[in-house]
């Protein structure tokens, strides 16, 4: 079952502004490991063609694993009140 199919099971209320910011230059220069690609259970982070990190903040499950793993550049906050994932089972 693809990650997209998994995320499609969930209810999201998507904010127009992202709650995740990345300094792409710093990220490219300082980070060799790209842990965000693997620790995120929602595959919010993927690698772009230029080696940049693409962010699909819309599917973020708000777990916080990426910020714990990244010590370079990630600025992560919870989505604004009333936005983001809304679990119906939990």
């Amino acid at each position: 079952m693809s990650i997209d199919a998994k995320l499609a099971l969930d209810a999201f209320k998507i904010d127009e502004e992202s709650h995740i910011q990345i300094d792409q230059t710093r990220c490219k220069e300082r980070c060799q490991t790209r842990y965000c690609l693997y620790v995120c259970p929602a595959q919010v982070y993927t690698l772009g063609q230029e080696g940049e990190i693409l962010i699909r903040y819309e599917g973020c499950l708000e777990c916080g694993a990426c910020t714990i793993a990244c010590d370079t550049t990630l600025a992560w906050n919870y989505p604004r009140g009333g936005f983001g994932v809304q679990y119906r089972f939990g």
């Binding site: 595959q43 777990c63 694993a65 714990i68 009333g82 679990y87």
Partner: protein, 431 residues
């Protein structure tokens, strides 16, 4: 919310710890505001999971009788997984079938709104859809919070904002978050009929099963799998240490691990024909006592996951009972501080005393060494593999004559257990 409102207590987060605290404070007549960023309490929360009720009965007498609990767990299974084989230990106990029941599976999006309702009946005000962005300070003490651009003043702020707590960070009470102190879990809720669940797990009506898995399913990484039966769903998931995921070569995504877990022959028939209805993920504090933040400051207390109150001993995983109890103890602390009208660290340090006297910190103290013990990769590759392979060889009858049991065991033991195993065994004895 009007600007510069003043209440007696502001609680950040309507999860179990925050709501437990609100429930007791409101019952005592204090003015309590609970601020929740989700659409409703429970909408951002995830559990495995199961709630142990016995430790909580004295804190909340009779509260649980009406609670939306799923199944009471009467069957406990632990599965050590090798690559092509596994060994499962199953405990069925008549004692677990006696009322009041020992533990219950729950779903947070059902359970938390119910608890919020109970707190609201006592007089707590719960404000959903609102994210707390900052703390308000005056001369080194916390005097309130900022949420949705409104300032709210309070005698005490309770940080109940979960495992990734910005409030702890902003209050300067936490240590630097280390990847080895956290795991990340991913879970699917899979719909099945109540009858199918009872038949597959051999349960009577209303009974539940809980199963933990460790070994090859996490590819040698610290972590494991879990399965809990709810009324008409199964909660199935994997949890892996964040540092283990970071160090894994080549990198491995958690959701793929969950997919291969679902395909394992030990799991697949249990969920056959079921429909996944939700996918969720959350971090879990795994650092134990050593990684806990300071739980009190000037005008602030920290409860539940925000305080790192979670315990994984490999056999038992708990945190929700700690959260509820810590909320109740924070409420008691605030009521005592209110009488003295003193919210200084000296006054609020009473909370830490109460936690230490309770099952919460006593439990974490007893299992203090466990988090380091569980960082041992042999627990997740070598031992489960050796255990299931050895049993497989003992049970196997081939063309050649069967050798003595002791010969097989001795050879298997020599293959798998080196000097390090003696040290590992000694460490088990200490925990």
């Amino acid at each position: 919310m009007a600007e510069a409102e003043k209440v007696e207590v502001v609680i950040v987060g309507a999860g179990l710890a925050g709501l437990a605290c609100a429930y007791h404070l409101a019952a005592a007549g204090l003015e309590v505001l609970v601020i929740e960023r989700g659409d409703f309490p429970g909408s951002k929360n995830v559990t495995g999971g199961r709630l142990y009720l016995h430790p909580l009965r004295s804190f909340f007498p009779h509260l649980w009788e009406e609670a939306p609990l799923e199944r009471h767990v009467t069957k406990e299974r632990l599965t050590a997984m090798g690559k092509g084989s596994s060994v499962t230990v199953e405990l069925s106990s008549e004692r677990f079938k006696e009322k009041p029941y020992h533990s219950h599976t729950i779903l947070r999006a059902k359970f938390d709104p119910w608890l919020a309702e109970r707190a609201a009946q006592k007089g707590a005000i719960i404000v959903p859809k609102s994210r707390v962005d900052d703390l308000l300070w005056q001369e080194g003490r916390v005097i309130g919070i900022v949420a949705s651009e409104a300032e709210i003043h309070a005698d005490v702020v309770v940080a109940a904002d979960g495992a990734f707590s910005f409030m702890v960070e902003k209050a300067g009470l936490g240590k630097r978050r280390k990847p080895q102190d956290y795991a990340v879990g991913a879970k699917e809720v899979i719909e099945l009929t109540s009858g199918a669940i009872e038949e597959r797990f051999g349960l009577s009506h209303g009974e539940g099963a809980a199963q933990l898995f460790f070994g090859s399913l996490t590819e040698g990484m610290f972590g494991g799998g879990f399965l809990y039966t709810n009324i008409d769903t199964i909660s199935l998931g994997v949890v892996v240490g964040i540092n283990a995921l970071m160090e894994k070569e080549p990198g491995f995504e958690l959701h793929r691990l969950l997919d291969s877990f679902k395909e394992r022959p030990e799991v697949k028939p249990l969920i056959e024909g079921g429909h996944p209805v939700e996918y969720s993920a959350h971090i879990v504090p795994e650092g134990g006592l050593e990684s806990m933040p300071q739980v009190y400051g000037h005008g602030i207390l920290v409860v539940g996951d925000a305080a790192g109150l979670a315990l994984n001993t490999g056999l038992i995983v708990r945190g929700m009972d700690f959260a509820l109890a810590s909320g109740a103890l924070a409420a008691q602390t605030i009521m005592e501080a209110k009488k003295r009208n003193d919210f200084s660290p000296a006054s609020l340090s009473r909370y830490e005393e109460l936690l230490k006297e309770s099952f919460v910190l006593k439990g974490l103290e007893t299992f203090r060494e466990v988090p380091r013990f569980l960082q041992n990769p042999r627990l997740f590759n070598l031992y489960p593999q050796a255990l299931s392979e050895s049993l497989e060889r003992l049970m196997w009858i081939g063309e050649e004559p069967k050798e003595k049991i002791s010969t097989t065991l001795w050879r298997e033991a020599r293959r798998a257990f080196r000097f390090s195993a003696v040290r590992d065994l000694l460490r088990v004895w200490r925990i």
